[in-house]
């Protein structure tokens, strides 16, 4: 089985098998810095990410069975990095666990509580009661499953004699379990009744008094028959986007309360938030402060992609985020390869080594064809031979430090000639010449432009090599695994057939990646995906036209539209439907947002809508960032309308 194709970490129920595959890098990047500030377990942590960004995998890593499995194998070399990361996150002291983590998926049944015909406060109360009851049951089950002496388990409270302690079943695990089951059954019965019971049939007093998160500080139990373990309870509420927006906000407010004594994380996709919250969190942050909630003090937000309007924790910028992601993806890819006997038997467990970086690119005839185009263009435009030669030397001079092939060099020269024409003063076309200081010269931007243009002109491979694979994943682990999966599959086949490692040629990589990306896009099934598809197609068509312009005005080509930052701030009120489409596009990795992008005269601020990941592969756009078409929301709407019709 190819684990890349199955997103293996999410399907492995056995903690040992899970540990064998999971990479500690994402948690190390996103959570460890927060733990080092002592902020991971004393306030609400909100973790935002696109689907497939690895939220659930991180959550599982912090659950007790996985931590215990790790401690059982703490001397194993392959788990050293994971143990170091979890120790850094203060989940273990290296010998015993210190955190009792349990993940609660907030599935549709929690959202269904919102459909009950009661007042909002009653529905919020039912939601909170169900979450708390299931969490307590989960904590106790986790302790039992890891072999802790359940009989010795005790719940510790800040005020042991309070009525709140009695209401949750007291300090013993038996009492706490019984009470939690009663509460769960009561809420479940109410939620699943075909016709909701009358309000007075619900034992609101019992449910309202059930607040274990308010009073529970630690859980202790005997460990290994020798040690006593004191564990900080941690609840990880996953998939919170499934909640109703009002329910979500109520839960968020509840979990932000400083009185809560348990550690709590809330994981959600961007869908759960309003477009403004999801796409312009700095605006919401201001609003929060006006309502008495202070971000960072009352809650911390961790973005698993740096794209949503503010830098993530620690001020990670996009360049660093891309670097971090490449490292994570490399680590994960190598771990997955190790589990495949075909590769591990031959000790070929480096994903990068499977991807050939060497050129097998342009045919002689392609190169000759482009060189002829250069000659014809120069003649048609009346560019003196001396100038052509000067620009050719510029290309050759660049080529001595970098080694582009013949077709690329010819295409670079063609771009330079086009730029020359653009810069030539108007007037007598055949007499005037470009000043020496304004003569176009070859550089890496020209090369990037030439390479992407050749992809479309002569099908020269463009998407190959590990960096291209990582960047094409749009900083999303699942997308990376799906893209890498098709490459690994063919590499595996090559080994089986030829009994030796044959790394994949650039041509094959380019073909496979674009094929897989096309499959991924045709499999879009998320809400509003039709509108997102039209938006992406319309933008991509325009970006491609810009990329293919003869003078390649944007080095490397365009993959984004820029709208003035001021327009972006008003998008949510002026164009709510468009804002919603953009939100789903961002939430499902079709585009990413780059707000406050400064470029142009007077450092004008833009918000970029950047086509990312597989969508860029499908349309043959550059993965390099920063090339954008200056536009406005109205122009984009017009473009979309034109594209649709």
């Amino acid at each position: 089985m190819n684990p890349f194709l199955k997103r293996a970490t999410e399907h492995l129920s056995d903690p040992e098998a899970f540990l064998g595959l999971v990479s500690p890098e994402p948690a190390g990047v996103y959570l460890r810095p927060v733990a080092e500030q002592d902020a991971l377990y004393d306030r609400l942590i909100m973790i935002l990410g696109t689907p497939g960004s690895g939220k659930t995998t991180i959550a599982r890593l912090f659950t007790l069975p996985v931590v215990c499995a790790l401690l059982r194998h703490r001397d194993a070399q392959e788990h050293r990095a994971t143990l170091t990361m979890l120790s850094g996150c203060r989940v273990t002291d290296g010998v015993l666990p210190t955190v009792l983590g349990y993940r609660v998926p907030l599935e549709a049944e929690y959202r269904d509580l919102w459909e009950l015909p009661y007042e909002d406060n009653v529905k919020v109360g039912l939601t909170m009661a169900l979450i708390q009851a299931r969490t307590v049951l989960g904590w106790l089950r986790a302790l039992a499953n890891v072999g802790a002496d359940v009989g010795t388990t005790e719940l510790q409270f800040a005020q042991p004699d309070s009525a709140a302690v009695t209401a949750i079943g007291g300090p013993t695990q038996t009492g706490a379990k019984q009470k939690a089951q009663e509460v769960e059954n009561a809420v479940y019965k109410t939620a699943t009744a075909l016709v909701a019971p009358a309000l007075d049939e619900i034992d609101s007093a019992t449910l309202g008094a059930y607040r274990p998160f308010d009073v529970l500080t630690k859980m202790t139990c005997s460990w290994d028959g020798v040690n006593t373990c004191a564990l900080k309870p941690l609840v990880i509420l996953d998939d919170a986007h499934a909640l109703h927006p009002v329910q979500f906000n109520a839960c968020k407010r509840w979990l932000m309360r400083r009185e809560l004594s348990v550690a709590r994380w809330l994981m959600t996709r961007l869908d759960a938030l309003s477009p403004a919250d999801a796409l312009a969190p700095q605006i919401s942050a201001l609003a929060s402060e006006q309502h008495g909630v202070t971000p960072r003090r009352d809650f911390l937000t961790i973005h698993m992609q740096v794209q949503s309007g503010q830098p993530a924790e620690g001020g990670r910028n996009r360049r660093k985020a891309r670097g971090d992601f490449r490292r994570m993806a490399q680590d994960m890819g190598d771990r997955y390869l190790k589990t495949m006997p075909v590769f591990s038997r031959r000790n070929r467990t480096s994903l990068s080594n499977l991807l050939n970086m060497n050129a097998d690119f342009s045919s002689e005839s392609d190169s000759t064809k482009i060189e002829e185009q250069v000659r014809a263009f120069a003649k048609r435009a009346g560019i003196p031979d001396s100038k052509v030669e000067e620009m050719r030397m510029s290309v050759d001079g660049y080529a001595t430090t970098d080694q582009p092939d013949r077709a690329v060099r010819a295409q670079m020269l063609l771009i330079l000639l086009n730029r020359y024409i653009k810069r030539r003063p108007q007037g007598d076309l055949f007499e005037s010449q470009v000043e020496e200081s304004r003569m176009p010269t070859a550089n890496s931007g020209i090369r990037a432009s030439a390479e992407i243009q050749l992809l479309h002109k002569v099908k020269r491979p463009f998407y190959f090599g590990p960096k291209m694979l990582f960047d094409a994943s749009g900083e999303n682990i699942e997308q990376f695994l799906r893209l890498a999966g098709c490459l690994v599959e063919v590499a595996e086949l090559n080994i089986i057939r030829r009994r030796e490692i044959v790394s994949l040629s650039a041509t094959i990589q380019n073909k496979l990646l674009r094929q897989r990306a096309t499959e991924m896009l045709s499999g879009w099934q998320f809400p509003m995906h039709s509108q997102v598809r039209v938006l992406v197609d319309a933008m991509a068509t325009k970006c491609l036209a810009k990329t293919l312009e003869g003078n390649a005005p944007l080095d490397g080509g365009a993959n984004a539209f820029g709208i003035p930052q001021d327009d972006y701030a008003t998008m949510f009120s002026a164009h709510p439907q468009f804002a919603r489409v953009v939100q789903f596009a961002v939430a499902h990795n079709a585009i990413s947002l780059v707000p406050h992008y400064q470029q142009g005269g007077n450092n004008r601020e833009w918000c970029l809508l950047e086509i990312c990941g597989p969508a860029a592969l499908v349309h043959g756009l550059t993965l390099k960032r920063g090339g954008f078409i200056e536009s406005s929301i109205e122009q984009i709407l017009e473009l979309v309308e034109g594209h649709r019709s």
């Binding site: 089985m1 199955k6 999410e10 399907h11 129920s13 599935e107 549709a108 049944e109 959202r111 269904d112 919102w114 459909e115 299931r134 049951l137 089950r141 939690a180 089951q181 769960e184 059954n185 479940y188 939620a191 699943t192 009744a193 075909l194 016709v195 499934a242 109703h244 927006p245 499999g523 099934q525 998320f526 809400p527 995906h529 039709s530």
Partner: protein, 355 residues
């Protein structure tokens, strides 16, 4: 195994037509017919037939399932079907709009459908008829369960279920899914509770053409221990089963790791066939696991309507959890489903014929 609907009063094809023409023609019969008022052309087929038999003794309640931003061509087809129903009925039919999704795209159709049915007065009716032909799972499952447990069993009224199969054997295609697993309201079946976490789970998905995405979503979410896919056989057209097998070969052989002996064959026009098979399956699981701990048989009815009805009956009787993926929208050209009235199926769920 003693089953609630074994024996069961059912009629198919010409027998069903004969039954409808004879039984509902009796002057003392007053019926309420619950049916769909959607773009599926099966919406109007049976209501028109029954209206001709019962005239003013029939009241029709047509449910319009409203999905966000529907395509105008489909809306126009739905309007045509409603006009047909209106023209056939002596009493003006009630058109009830049922929202499928909340403002946040959460699936709310189950409760909304029950709310709509609770507004209907059944006092003067001797018979309640539910035409499932063009109703979605999200609406039909809660409605039938509510009418069976909340009305028919309490008042002794007759409850009938009617099916008009699709002429092509398929269901409306070209759909956008929500991307999340849903549960028809009232069919949670205990799944998700603490006692279900470590319980063994057997999943019974119906294989349906073009439903691969939906089944993949459910499979990922459920992570079942065992899978028993349902394949239609005998089926209409006869090659449907083979085609489905080819379509799902990867899943059966690889992703789901299904033992070839675990395929469950069921007649795609005979609801009781699947009902009995699932009932036997559930009973044998109970016999195996019952004394140790709870186990779950989870149904995903995405195949033909007859198979869906069989799953519904089994789920109601054994309180089995049902999971599916709701359709966010149908995209033109949504497959036009022509009604095959020759394949009419009638099942008498509750009432005079049962002691």
């Amino acid at each position: 195994v003693t089953l609630q609907w074994d024996p069961c009063v059912e009629h198919r094809a010409s027998e069903a037509h004969a039954f409808v023409n004879r039984y509902f023609a009796q002057a003392n019969r007053r019926a309420v017919l619950i049916c769909a008022g959607g773009f599926d052309d099966r919406s109007a087929a049976f209501p028109v037939q029954l209206a001709q038999v019962m005239r003013s003794r029939l009241r029709v309640v047509a449910l319009r399932e409203e999905r966000p931003a529907p395509q105008q061509t489909l809306v126009a087809r739905a309007e045509q079907n409603i006009v047909q129903i209106q023209q056939a009925c002596a009493q003006s039919p009630a058109i009830e709009t049922v929202e499928v999704f909340g403002p946040d795209n959460a699936v709310v159709i189950g409760r909304k459908a029950i709310d709509a049915i609770r507004r209907v007065a059944f006092d003067d009716a001797t018979d309640i008829v539910v035409d499932l032909s063009a109703l979605s799972i999200g609406a039909s499952f809660p409605i039938v369960r509510f009418l069976y447990e909340g009305v028919a069993k309490k008042t002794g009224k007759n409850l009938h279920v009617i099916l008009v199969p699709s002429g092509s054997g398929g269901e409306p295609g070209d759909r956008e899914l929500t991307g999340d697993m849903s549960c028809p309201h009232g069919f949670q079946g205990g799944l998700g509770t603490d006692e279900s976490i470590d319980a063994p789970k057997l999943w019974v998905p119906h294989l349906g053409a073009g439903r691969r995405n939906a089944l993949e979503i459910i499979h990922r979410k459920l992570e079942p221990d065992e899978i028993v896919p349902v394949l239609p056989f005998p089926c209409h057209p006869p090659r449907v089963g083979d085609e489905l097998l080819a379509e799902f070969l990867d899943e059966i052989e690889s992703a789901w790791e299904v033992d070839s002996r675990s395929l469950l064959y069921a007649d795609d026009r005979h609801p009781l066939d699947l009902y009995r098979s699932i009932s036997r399956l559930s009973a044998s699981r109970q016999a195996t696991f019952g004394s140790i701990h709870k186990s779950f048989v989870i149904l995903t009815p995405l195949g033909s309507k007859a198979l869906t009805l069989g799953a519904l009956m089994a789920a109601m009787e054994h309180n089995l959890p049902v999971r599916y993926v709701e359709t966010l929208s149908y995209v033109p050209p949504a497959l036009s489903v022509s009604p095959d009235l020759d394949g009419l199926t009638h099942i008498w769920l509750s009432g005079d014929v049962y002691p």
